[in-house]
């Protein structure tokens, strides 16, 4: 097991190198002069431009630029963005907000998705099951920005149950609504996945045997049906955690959350190369770690899976 984890961490190295190279190359190939983005519409004096080109190694060939960047990363120096702020500081500033939002969304989608899916699966074909299925289909079908703006308008503006936007502090109550919107689509998927899995497992031979042993219905469902049914659901949730941590550009935009998604969005608009590369690399690492977590969870849930 220890060897497996070590090997998975070693696998991160080529993933990291490949991802940074690819992203760096894409940013490098963007048309237009990077300094133009920094200087804005008024433009800078040639001397300032030359200074900037020097500072960000813009005159070096691609390989040198990439290697210099790598050197910075390996010495824990992510450099500065085009506004001159240290990138590491920016990430440290916005990531906690995104992480909080992501975990809240994950908890919401997991708890409600599994609960609704369980009940729907156990009452297959009944009215609860049918209505939940239709509802989840609607959630999946309607684009997230429609749902987002709708809920912001109804709950935040009309009913005024909560603030329609998130302040810099990003408190728990402020993040609740964005978290619901963020988790909504995954909630529908978790629900459907749980439901299918429950239906499949409830007719398994070992469930019948468990009933024949004299266990109560409640215990049969919680011990023998639920755990087995959660195996595919956990895989989905883990992958989703990686995606959510990556920041929800749309949701963060709607609710004005100062998170990773919003920061990345602004960096892309500004053509801020160093910032884009750093954030994307950071997200890739998070995603890889989330996947590793899923695989370990998976082995814990299903003892037949043993990593060597």
């Amino acid at each position: 097991m220890a060897w497996y984890i070590v090997r998975r961490f070693l696998q991160l190295i080529p993933v990291f190198l490949g991802a940074t190279l690819l992203v760096y190359f894409l940013v490098f190939s963007l048309p237009g002069d990077a300094t133009a983005a920094i200087c804005g519409e008024r433009g800078c004096t040639p001397a300032v431009v030359a200074g900037l080109r020097e500072q960000y190694n813009l005159d070096e060939p691609f390989w040198i630029q990439y290697l210099l960047y790598l050197k910075g990363v390996l010495t824990f120096d992510l450099g500065t963005n085009f506004s001159g702020r240290p990138i590491a500081t920016i990430i440290a500033e916005v990531f906690p907000t995104t992480a909080r939002l992501a975990i809240m969304a994950l908890v919401i989608e997991a708890v409600f998705g599994i609960l609704f899916g369980l009940v729907a699966g156990l009452r297959k074909g009944k009215i609860f099951d049918s209505s939940v299925l239709i509802l989840s289909l609607v959630v999946i079908a309607v684009p997230i920005f429609v749902l987002g703006f709708l809920m912001q308008f109804l709950i935040g503006v009309k009913l005024q149950w909560t603030s329609p936007t998130v302040s810099g502090d990003a408190t728990f109550t402020e993040l609740l609504l964005p978290a619901v919107v963020l988790g909504l689509v995954s909630f529908a998927y978790v629900l459907r996945l749980t439901r299918t899995s429950i239906i499949e497992n409830v007719n398994a031979d070992y469930v019948r045997t468990a009933t024949a042993k004299g266990l109560s219905r409640r215990r049969v469902v919680s011990v023998h049906v639920l755990r087995n049914s959660l195996i595919p659901v956990v895989t989905f949730l883990g992958a989703d955690l990686g995606a959510l941590m990556g920041g929800a550009i749309v949701t963060e935009g709607i609710f004005n959350v100062n998170g990773v998604g919003n920061t990345l969005y602004r960096a892309v608009l500004n053509g801020d190369g160093p910032m884009v590369v750093s954030i994307v690399t950071f997200l890739i690492l998070i995603f890889c770690l989330a996947n590793l977590l899923v695989d370990l969870l998976y082995a814990w849930l299903d003892p037949r899976i043993r990593y060597a």
């Binding site: 070992y206 045997t209 042993k213 004299g214 011990v223």
Partner: protein, 581 residues
């Protein structure tokens, strides 16, 4: 060997006799009584009756067997007694009385109370009946706990070791996938009997196990239930097994009880036509070479001796010499270990005869079949087909070789393409090998269907519309399409009910004498071997342990392993009057 087990089971039956006649109260009251039971399933096509007017009594301490083919309603009947009918099934008439209490429509709460503590169950398939994500010990523990018994680690270990699980305390900490099939079934028996129920429902408890393991498990179950005084409702498709183990046998057919009575009486004097058919075709009871019936007209006595001497003078169509197959198994840290699946096996098949390869699962018998078919490469050794070594064949030659050797596989559900209709299924090999034109191929398909006794109207049907026996006939027709010289049957009748099995074996025997086919028959079922084979090869753990003519192997087995295999055939110990046997 076989006579001693016969005595043993006789003693067991006698022991139960006395107990059944002297119940503690003095007045015999049935433990379980099913009266005119009818069970209906609600499907999208309306109500389907699964069981009608089933009548059954189990006295305390008695073993009663329900025998029938799949779909006869035997399992449904037993499951109804413990309230385990599937969601769309219900008792539509009659009553279930357990120990004087009518539990037909008892509340869920009452049924939960009865389950485990009063009525235990040992299910059919040990592979799917233990929850794969919980430790064995946990699954025993929760049973004890749910029924209000002490459930400490030592109690769990005790229950498991009673069921014959060695080293139970350590084993309790393992997961089901770390157990072999036999060990899992022992764990399930442990669970079924852990709360000392008065009635145990054993639903085909050993049909998924090898024959020697089956014998051990059933012996153990017998001993345990006898000691505990537990009544057993044994569900099985094997009449021989039922007769050997049970005191009373109930025969079910198409949802109805057609005959019931003391086991031996039912075997020796079956009254209902279905029971008569069942008795005469049960391989474990009526063991004789099928072909003998055909040859009876020509030669009256000692049928096999001339057949063998004739075969010996003929050439060998297949000669396998020193065949070895080694698989690499991936271990941890990137290392791999060798696993020898087939170890230095030599055998031959004389033209026009049948050679059976017998062994338990893991004996390497199917690997031999795959190598002879050219589907798996041999690690060393040679396989000569008609004098040519097939292990060295080129692509093109291999293609031609495949025309002459055809397989029939075990699972008639899995081996036919569900998207191909029957015509296309049988015609495909002809098309692949460019035989004739469309018209002549259609003629050939009709002939083939005729040979396997299927109507030509079947051509447009799809596999899902056919029964298991019909599908296996289609598989045989497909194998015969290219006029092969050798047919390799890999457990070709193992998945079939006993009556259908007998039909297919007869068909294979007929085709052999008609077309001069040679068969390599891979099976775990010795009873089937006796009916079809001229020559038997016994394999154990990849090695050939014994070979000889069928009669020689059956009448005077040379090795202890073969003796054990023979003794383990259900019903082998039964002594029947000559007119039946």
């Amino acid at each position: 060997m076989s006579s001693s087990t016969g005595k043993e089971s006789g003693r067991r039956a006698a022991g139960k006799d006395t107990r059944a006649e002297q119940p503690p109260s003095g007045v015999p009251q049935p433990l379980l009584e099913l009266r005119d039971l009818a069970i209906t399933f609600t499907t999208s096509n309306g109500d389907v009756p699964a069981v009608r007017n089933a009548h059954l009594t189990v006295m305390p301490g008695e073993t009663v067997a329900i025998v029938g083919e799949s779909g006869s309603g035997k399992s449904t009947t037993a499951l109804a007694a413990i309230g385990l009918l599937p969601g769309n099934g219900r008792v539509s008439n009659g009553s279930i009385v357990f120990d004087g209490e009518d539990i037909t429509h008892a509340s869920e709460k009452r049924i939960v109370e009865l389950r485990g503590s009063s009525i235990g169950m040992v299910p059919q398939d040990p592979m799917s009946n233990l929850n794969p994500v919980w430790k064995i010990g946990f699954q025993v523990k929760e049973t004890l706990k749910a029924n209000g018994l002490p459930s400490g680690p030592q109690d769990v270990a005790k229950v498991l070791s009673e069921a014959g699980l060695p080293d139970a305390a350590a084993r309790a900490n393992q997961y089901p996938h770390e157990f072999s099939g036999g060990m899992r079934q022992r764990a399930l028996i442990a669970i079924g009997l852990s709360c000392r129920p008065r009635l145990l429902i054993a639903d085909e408890p050993t049909s998924a196990l090898d024959v020697t393991v089956q014998r051990q498990i059933l012996d153990h179950l017998d001993t345990m239930t006898e000691e505990l005084g537990t009544a057993v409702l044994l569900i099985t498709h094997d009449l021989g097994l039922a007769a050997e183990r049970a005191h009373k046998v109930v025969v079910m057919y198409k949802g109805q009880v057609v005959e019931a009575g003391p086991a031996l009486e039912l075997l020796t004097n079956p009254r209902h036509p279905y029971t008569q058919k069942l008795v005469s075709s049960a391989p474990s009871i009526a063991s004789r070479r099928i072909e003998s019936a055909k040859q009876a007209g020509v030669e009256s006595e000692d049928l096999l001796a001339p057949a063998v001497s004739k075969a010996a003078s003929l050439d060998k169509i297949i000669e396998v010499e020193d065949l070895t197959k080694v698989f690499k198994i991936r271990g941890s840290w990137g290392r791999s270990t060798d696993f020898t699946a087939v170890d230095d096996v030599s055998l031959s098949i004389a033209r026009g005869t049948t050679t059976a390869v017998v062994g338990e699962s893991g004996s390497g018998k199917s690997t031999v079949a795959k190598m002879v078919l050219g589907l798996e490469s041999a690690t060393s050794g040679s396989i000569k087909f008609d004098g040519v070594d097939i292990t060295t064949l080129k692509r093109k030659e291999l293609f031609d070789f495949r025309r002459r050797v055809q397989p029939i596989f075990q699972d008639p559900y899995g081996s036919l393409d569900p998207m191909y209709n029957i015509y296309r299924t049988i015609e495909e090999p002809l098309r692949v090998h460019n035989v004739g034109n469309a018209k002549s191929r259609e003629k050939k398909v009709r002939e083939l269907l005729d040979q396997v006794a299927l109507p030509s109207s079947m051509m447009q049907r799809f596999p899902n519309e056919l029964s298991g026996g019909q599908r296996q006939r289609v598989a045989i027709a497909r194998a015969l399409a290219l006029d092969p010289e050798v047919v390799i049957c890999d457990e070709a009748v193992s998945a079939l009910d006993v009556l259908v099995q007998a039909q297919i074996l007869n068909l294979l025997a007929d085709l052999q004498s008609e077309l001069g086919l040679s068969y390599l028959f891979i099976t775990h079922d010795l009873a089937v071997v006796r009916q079809i084979a001229d020559h038997v090869v016994v394999m154990q753990k990849g090695k050939l342990v014994e070979q000889g003519t069928t009669d020689a192997v059956f009448d005077s087995p040379q090795t202890a392993y073969t003796q054990a295999l023979l003794a383990a055939i259900p019903g082998a110990g039964l002594v029947l009057p000559p007119e039946v046997a």
